[in-house]
């Protein structure tokens, strides 16, 4: 492989989009309001589109002729590199919105920095995806504030979601020695820059939502190394069903 570090990096981006897009698709037809059903499906659609571009590019870097479908559907569980946060089940609407918000607050500054990537393909994908991600973050920030500062029940649900999901957030900023070489080459930004932006957004929105950041900051990780939660297996069973049951066919 020409550039294993770049492959791994792009694969992580692609898997984050793929797995979260897959999760959001589960809401289709079951949303709390018709307008929100449409919004969640729309975000899912954006993420699946991003996953296609990113995984195609990962396949190109890999150079073994794998396209986005080969990567999305035909890997084993421990070969997926998404953050554990994104494979967490949807739970209630507060849980889904909190998961999405914590991710969007990470993705937006990341794409903003990737616009300046010396890798043109990455810069182009970032440009397209940033437009979408700005909307996603606006949408989820508004909902987090509405739920946090809405009724007692919505506040409790939003706080519970934050308490449960907070432990998975640090993994978003995972960075390897090889990544630092990409940083030095101007291909990707340093994660500490992204984390600073993320913290600013998250702190401001959660404060307006009257929600409290958990005091216990014990963090989980593993997804970036292929060690996932029990939830991913079931998600992949659905995702991969057709490709596994009917191998080598065109659809």
């Amino acid at each position: 492989m020409k550039n294993e570090a770049l492959y791994n990096y792009v694969l992580r981006l692609g898997d984050d989009s793929l797995i979260l897009g897959q999760r959001l698709g589960e809401w289709c037809g079951h949303g709390p309001i018709l307008e929100e059903d449409i919004a969640m499906t729309n975000i899912s659609l954006d993420l699946i589109g991003q996953a296609m571009s990113l995984l195609n590019y990962a396949g190109e870097i890999d150079g073994q002729g794998k396209d986005h479908d080969a990567l999305a559907f035909l890997r084993f569980e421990n070969e997926y590199r998404n953050a554990i946060l994104l494979e967490q089940p949807n739970g209630d609407f507060a849980h889904t919105m909190m998961r999405q918000f914590l991710f969007d607050a990470f993705r937006k500054p990341l794409y903003e920095k990737l616009l300046d990537s010396s890798d043109q393909q990455i810069a182009a994908i970032a440009e397209k995806s940033l437009k979408e991600t700005r909307y996603h973050l606006k949408h989820t920030s508004e909902w987090i504030i509405r739920l946090g500062d809405g009724t007692d029940e919505s506040h409790q649900r939003a706080q519970k979601a934050l308490d449960l999901l907070w432990r998975y957030t640090d993994e978003l900023f995972f960075e390897t020695e090889e990544d630092l070489a990409l940083v030095a080459e101007g291909i990707v930004p340093a994660m500490k820059v992204i984390k600073a932006e993320w913290s600013k957004t998250v702190t401001a929105v959660l404060a307006e939502a009257t929600l409290n950041i958990p005091t216990n900051n014990w963090q989980f990780e593993g997804g970036r190394r292929g060690v996932h939660s029990e939830h991913l297996g079931y998600l992949l069973a659905d995702l991969q069903y057709m490709q596994r049951a009917y191998p080598n066919m065109k659809w």
């Binding site: 698709g25 309001i33 066919m249």
Partner: protein
């Protein structure tokens, strides 16, 4: 109001209809016209929303990312159609939430086709091809419906539905040109969806009590049987292109009539499914009711937050 006045109003109303002038929300209209439209448009809206369920069932299992994206976009279109249609219902003075409650209580109906399960991937292509295809037959005629908001909404809906129909057909072309397993999957879907698709046009004309008045008011332009025949005539050649067999031994071109003859429909099944005894009626209504009940706190939160904001502004 005096009787004479009412007769005069009704006369003028019918004259407008006869002259193809659209009826708009603030125009006078007979109560029965209003009621008929509320019933029909809300049923149509419910069909779009309930129709999201069988297809939504396959979003997580779509066989590749392109098909997943296409299916997501399609189901999203259906939700959008539901929104326009509920808005049209509101122009007639009905309440969106109240009409949805009628769906959940079983008082309001929706298209029976969505009470059949989508059990294989081929069902998704088949629903696009046959179900959206049948819907278009109905809806193209509705673009000329006498009620303005419904007719205009239908123009946009028809464009999207016809796109869905072609997407469904294209998906089946891929299966029918694929492996024998894929072709068999497509045939199996055809076998299960053909008759329910023909039932989508409703009871035959002699069993359809509301039709004559709806035709006079130009809410309807063609009878159920006429539309059903047009659908069969349009669809048989498409099935031939796919190489799929239509599950009707009596299907035959009739030189004299210039139409295809086909077997009688199983009306017992039709009425059983309409009256709640189809394979998925219970699941569909349960899913929609659950979405509404579990979403209650979200809607309450949004309202409470909006009120707080309004208070802050005035303070």
């Amino acid at each position: 109001m005096k009787t004479m006045d009412l007769q005069e109003l009704e006369k003028r109303f019918q004259e407008k209809i006869d002259k193809e002038i659209k009826i708009e929300p603030n125009d006078w209209m007979p109560d029965e016209y209003r009621k008929t439209l509320i019933r029909q448009i809300s049923q149509h809206a419910h069909s779009e929303i309930v129709g999201m369920l069988p297809e939504g069932n396959w979003i997580t299992r779509a066989p590749n990312l392109r098909r997943k994206a296409v299916l997501l976009a399609k189901v999203q279109d259906e939700a959008g159609h539901g929104l326009y249609l509920y808005s049209s219902v509101e122009t007639l003075g009905a309440d969106r939430e109240a009409t949805i409650d009628d769906l959940h209580s079983g008082k309001a109906k929706y298209s029976s086709i969505f009470n059949y399960p989508a059990v294989t991937w081929a069902d998704i292509g088949t629903i696009g091809w046959l179900v959206d295809g049948a819907a278009i037959m109905n809806q193209v005629a509705l673009c000329r419906c006498s009620y303005g908001p419904y007719a205009r909404g239908m123009v946009k809906i028809c464009k999207e539905e016809s796109f869905h129909q072609r997407q469904g057909f294209e998906s089946l072309v891929t299966l029918c040109n694929g492996t024998p397993t894929q072709k068999a999957m497509a045939q199996d879907a055809m076998n299960r969806f053909w008759w329910p698709a023909l039932m989508m046009f409703g009871p035959s004309d002699d069993e359809s009590p509301n039709s004559a008045q709806s035709m006079k008011w130009k809410i309807k332009r063609f009878s159920n049987d006429e539309l059903r025949q047009s659908f069969v005539d349009a669809t048989v050649p498409q099935a031939e292109i796919l190489g799929l067999t239509i599950p009707d031994p009596n299907l035959k071109w009739n030189e004299e009539t210039g139409h295809y003859d086909f077997s009688p429909i199983n009306w017992d099944e039709f009425w059983q499914v309409v009256n709640g005894n189809g394979p998925c009626n219970k699941e569909r209504i349960e899913a929609r009711t659950k979405a509404k009940e579990e979403g209650m706190w979200v809607r309450e939160a949004a309202m409470a937050y909006a009120e707080k904001r309004a208070l802050k502004k005035t303070a």
